[in-house]
């Protein structure tokens, strides 16, 4: 991030000098910081409202209930770990929290899931196949309701801020499916490589 910070300012100064638009660059440096505060304030309401609603979902046990529903389905993705064990429990809770957009709850649960996976599979410094599947599922972001995106669209005068929901769902599922297929293929490839090495030595 520190490299990015420096490089983007460096390029701004170089390009601004080359294009003769230094006046605009200077103005941006002075006004964009205010725009950031305006943006954060305009998003604050949406973020707070959904945090509140989702806190109810979590505390009332709705998240846990949904987790129990999807657990058998998710179990198929992870091979060789206890279906009703602690690792599996945290994995499911993390993925359901992500689905509901509970980012604050999802990250600590995800880290717990990684710790339990590490313990259950006796991993040391190398990631196991299950750890990779789990992390990759987190990077693919399956989310039912992207509240921030909806809020920015609404703030900018969109006629229908939520019309993109079906698109978001289709694309999320496609991205997740790709990630899982690639991960499973690579897992098979690595397993075969290791077996071949084992035969030689």
């Amino acid at each position: 991030m520190k490299v990015f910070f420096f490089i983007i300012v460096l390029f701004s100064v170089i390009l601004g000098t080359a294009n003769g638009s230094m006046d605009k660059v200077s103005q941006a440096a002075l006004t964009e910081c205010t725009a950031a505060v305006t943006l954060a304030v305009s998003l604050c309401g949406t973020i707070c409202f959904w945090s509140g609603i989702m806190n109810i979902a979590e505390r009332s046990g709705l998240t846990a209930k949904l987790s129990a529903l999807v657990s058998p389905l998710l179990g198929k993705l992870f091979s060789g770990i206890d279906r009703s064990g602690r690792a599996m429990n945290y994995i499911v809770l993390n993925l359901v929290s992500n689905l509901l957009g509970l980012a604050n709850a999802a990250t600590p649960l995800g880290i717990k899931a990684m710790e339990e996976l590490k313990a259950e599979e006796n991993a040391e410094e190398s990631a196991t196949d299950n750890m990779i599947i789990f992390t990759v599922m987190n990077t693919a972001s399956l989310q039912l309701f992207p509240a921030t995106v909806a809020a920015i669209r609404a703030n900018n005068g969109s006629g229908a801020p939520l019309e993109i929901l079906p698109c978001v769902w289709i694309v999320s599922v496609a991205a997740l499916a790709t990630a899982l297929i690639v991960a499973k293929l690579l897992a098979a490839l690595y397993r075969r490589k290791r077996m071949r090495k084992g035969v030689r030595t």
Partner: protein, 171 residues
């Protein structure tokens, strides 16, 4: 009245209904959660100030237009709008940075334009890939992540290509 208009009110109602059913103090719990949201907003603000200022300067200097024209030959193949290309670079690296780019795209081209819709779909269906990998593997001191990066990046790539295709198909 469309399905998407029904979605949000019904989800809210359903969650409240379940809360009442399980005798949760829905008001107290809501307020507590909303206070957490306030903290989340405060947490992202410092990074947002840094990134929006940088990106604002970069854009004023003509950097974003230059970046867009550089990647245009590649993005055109996939029918992806080169105006939203800046998001491709920043999305896997920084959540606040992506938010700053996204807001900029929406303000300039409008939320209901093709570019605005593609950018919205991308934002809604992708994650801060590198950050997530670093946090999860870092937290349990895994040094060798083996093949984890490739599937994660393939998800991002699918997301960019599918976003443009899905918007074309649905609107």
């Amino acid at each position: 009245m469309s399905f998407t208009d029904m979605f949000v009110p019904c989800v809210i109602l359903l969650i409240l209904f379940y809360g009442i059913l399980t005798k949760t103090d829905i008001f107290e719990v809501f307020v507590e959660g909303a206070a957490q949201g306030l903290k989340t907003t405060a947490d992202i603000l410092p990074a947002l100030i840094c990134l929006m200022t940088c990106i604002g300067m970069f854009k004023a200097a003509g950097g974003i237009d230059l970046l867009g024209s550089l990647v245009k030959p590649v993005t055109d193949i996939f029918g992806f709008p080169s105006e939203a290309a800046s998001l491709i670079f920043i999305r896997p690296l920084s959540g606040s940075g992506a938010l700053a780019f996204y807001e900029d795209i929406i303000a300039q081209y409008g939320p209901d334009s093709f570019i605005g819709r593609v950018a919205s779909t991308m934002m809604g269906s992708s994650e801060t890939t590198f950050y997530t990998l670093a946090v999860y593997f870092g937290a349990v001191r895994i040094k060798n992540t083996r093949y984890a990066l490739l599937p994660a990046l393939s998800a991002d790539l699918t997301c960019w290509i599918a976003a443009a295709a899905a918007v074309r198909l649905m609107f």
